[in-house]
């Protein structure tokens, strides 16, 4: 699917795409963290406002739409590729890495396994960067060999 990205200087970004039913849909991501969804019908120049979401509502909607698919994709991935597993690693309270950025664990360098998501309470941080702070109680979704996942677990217990 092609998503067209339009810069709205000083205001935010607009994403436009056409769904399988031929609806032209625009999503305006405002700098303030709010979102506005529009549909273009007869006039391609004029978006018909559908709804607006504040930051929390947008995050909730994203989770409703995206969360089951993230989990499904991991499951598919480990089924499809032999020797590749996905696993869950919890950051214990006692971990030296609690409160420090993910990059400092050097988990991928040391074990070859990648942290692809962090589950924190009921929210999911997808593809966390090295700067992402780890908190005690975080559950890391790790993809790699079985040994690699075990290695990430050992690092985080330390």
């Amino acid at each position: 699917m092609d998503v067209n990205e339009v810069l709205l200087p000083g205001v935010g970004l607009r994403y436009e795409f056409t769904n399988h039913e031929g609806d032209h849909i625009g999503v305006v991501a405002l700098r303030s963290g709010e979102f506005e969804v529009v549909v273009y019908d007869d006039d391609p120049d004029e978006g018909r406002p559908v709804f607006r979401l504040n930051e929390d509502e947008a995050e909730t909607l994203a989770q409703i739409l995206g969360a089951p698919r993230i989990a499904e994709r991991f499951a598919d991935l480990s089924r499809e590729v032999p020797g590749l597993s996905s696993g869950w690693v919890r950051v214990p309270e006692s971990s030296t890495f609690a409160g420090r950025p993910l990059g400092e664990t050097r988990a991928r360098t040391r074990t070859g396994a990648s942290v692809v998501a962090i589950v924190r309470d009921d929210e999911v941080v997808a593809s966390p960067g090295p700067g992402q702070l780890l908190r005690p109680g975080d559950v890391l979704v790790v993809i790699g060999t079985d040994e690699g996942i075990a290695g990430v677990n050992r690092i985080l217990q330390g």
Partner: protein, 385 residues
């Protein structure tokens, strides 16, 4: 500590009045700026409501308001967005300048203003109000429309033009011989370019020095640095506002983003007082003589902005109605026209009332016209799902 009852009471009453006017403006989807100007006018010298105790504070707060307006403008600025605007809309910026600055200059010459006054008036008619336009587009839910990026690009390029224009104007306004003025202009333009270069090359380093996870500390640091730089700039006759703008320019990325968030409420408060102070500085008796000129300027430059926006939108392949929407969206003049008057100062008795009246007309008419133009679409009943 001695608490001044009069100061608290007068200031409180002013803020209550501004709050009420602001509510009214929001309800009418108008900008509050013209109402703040009116409030200032009502409080001015020889008015029926003199507020002696709050006067000193209003003057000080207006200075801070001017500084914060420019700081926020600088923070708003991103090189990436500027470059994106530049790629496509350089011709629009040219049309914008060619159509909208000359009417101000011509009226300035006709009124017998000096060079600084003519330049200032040209600037005031050139610059649309980014604040009002962005707000109106959001309120009218036009961010999804195809003409909107063109409108916003024009605003960004105007802001850039201001970056070059304000220092020059400030230097010229501070007077001096021609070679002092030339040297000052070179220094001012050099400072803007240096700030750009610094933000481009070392923006993240500067950001790291200023940045702090705590919002309160971030706010204090940004505000502190800005006021110090503003004071230094004023000391070397380059205008406090320009110094603040340079600080805003050098901050980029996440620091700028968080800075915008913590500075915004302060700016709104002090900028409101700044608009009031400009209103106060205008003698109501000076208004009637300049009204015809203000009205003529408003009509002409309203029309030229419609042409400007229409041209910019046509570059993006927008249809006729969208071009009209884009053009009318740009009509509103506001904060920066007032800032220009604030910079040039009290030496020009005609300029302040003229621009105040002009901004009043277009800040009110602009949003109304653009909303009305947007309503002309008659949607067939079947199209509403």
């Amino acid at each position: 500590m001695h608490v001044s009852v009069a100061l608290l009471l007068e200031l409180g009453l002013i803020l209550v009045v501004l709050g009420t006017l602001g509510t009214l403006a929001r309800r009418l989807t108008l900008s509050p700026i013209p109402l703040y100007l009116l409030a200032g006018l009502a409080l001015g010298e020889g008015s029926f409501l003199p507020l002696p105790a709050a006067g000193e504070f209003i003057r000080a707060a207006a200075t801070i308001g001017l500084v914060l307006l420019l700081l926020a403008l600088g923070l708003e600025f991103s090189i990436a967005e500027f470059a994106a605007g530049l790629r496509r809309h350089v011709p629009s910026a040219g049309v914008d300048l060619a159509l909208n600055a000359p009417p101000g200059a011509v009226v300035g010459l006709l009124l017998g203003l000096d060079t600084v006054g003519v330049l200032a008036l040209a600037g005031a008619t050139f610059i649309s109000s980014s604040g009002i336009v962005a707000r109106v587009l959001t309120d009218l839910r036009r961010l999804g429309n195809r003409e909107t990026p063109a409108v916003l690009s024009v605003l960004v390029l105007e802001d850039f033009a201001m970056a070059a224009f304000l220092p020059v104007l400030a230097v010229l306004a501070s007077g001096g011989t021609w070679w002092q003025a030339v040297a000052g202009v070179l220094v001012a333009v050099g400072a803007v370019l240096a700030a750009f270069a610094a933000s481009y090359r070392w923006g993240h380093h500067i950001g790291r020095i200023v940045s702090h996870p705590d919002a309160e500390l971030l706010m204090l640091r940004i505000l502190g640095i800005t006021l110090v730089v503003a004071a230094l700039a004023e000391y070397v006759h380059a205008s406090a506002a320009v110094g603040a703008f340079l600080v805003g320019l050098t901050l980029t990325g996440e620091t700028a983003e968080r800075g915008r968030a913590v500075i915004a409420p302060l700016r709104d408060l002090f900028a409101a007082v700044f608009f009031v102070a400009i209103g106060v500085s205008v003698d109501p008796a000076a208004l009637p003589p300049v009204l015809p000129a203000a009205l003529a300027l408003a009509v002409v430059t309203g029309f030229t902005k419609v042409l400007t926006g229409g041209y910019a939108a046509s570059l993006d392949g927008v249809g006729r109605r969208g071009r009209l929407r884009a053009g009318t969206a740009l009509i509103a003049r506001g904060e920066f026209s007032i800032v220009i008057v604030g910079l040039v100062g009290v030496g020009h008795p005609v300029l302040a009332p003229l621009v105040a009246a002009y901004v009043f007309l277009l800040a009110v008419a602009g949003p109304f016209i653009t909303r009305f133009i947007g309503l002309t679409r008659l949607r067939p009943a079947g199209a509403v799902r």
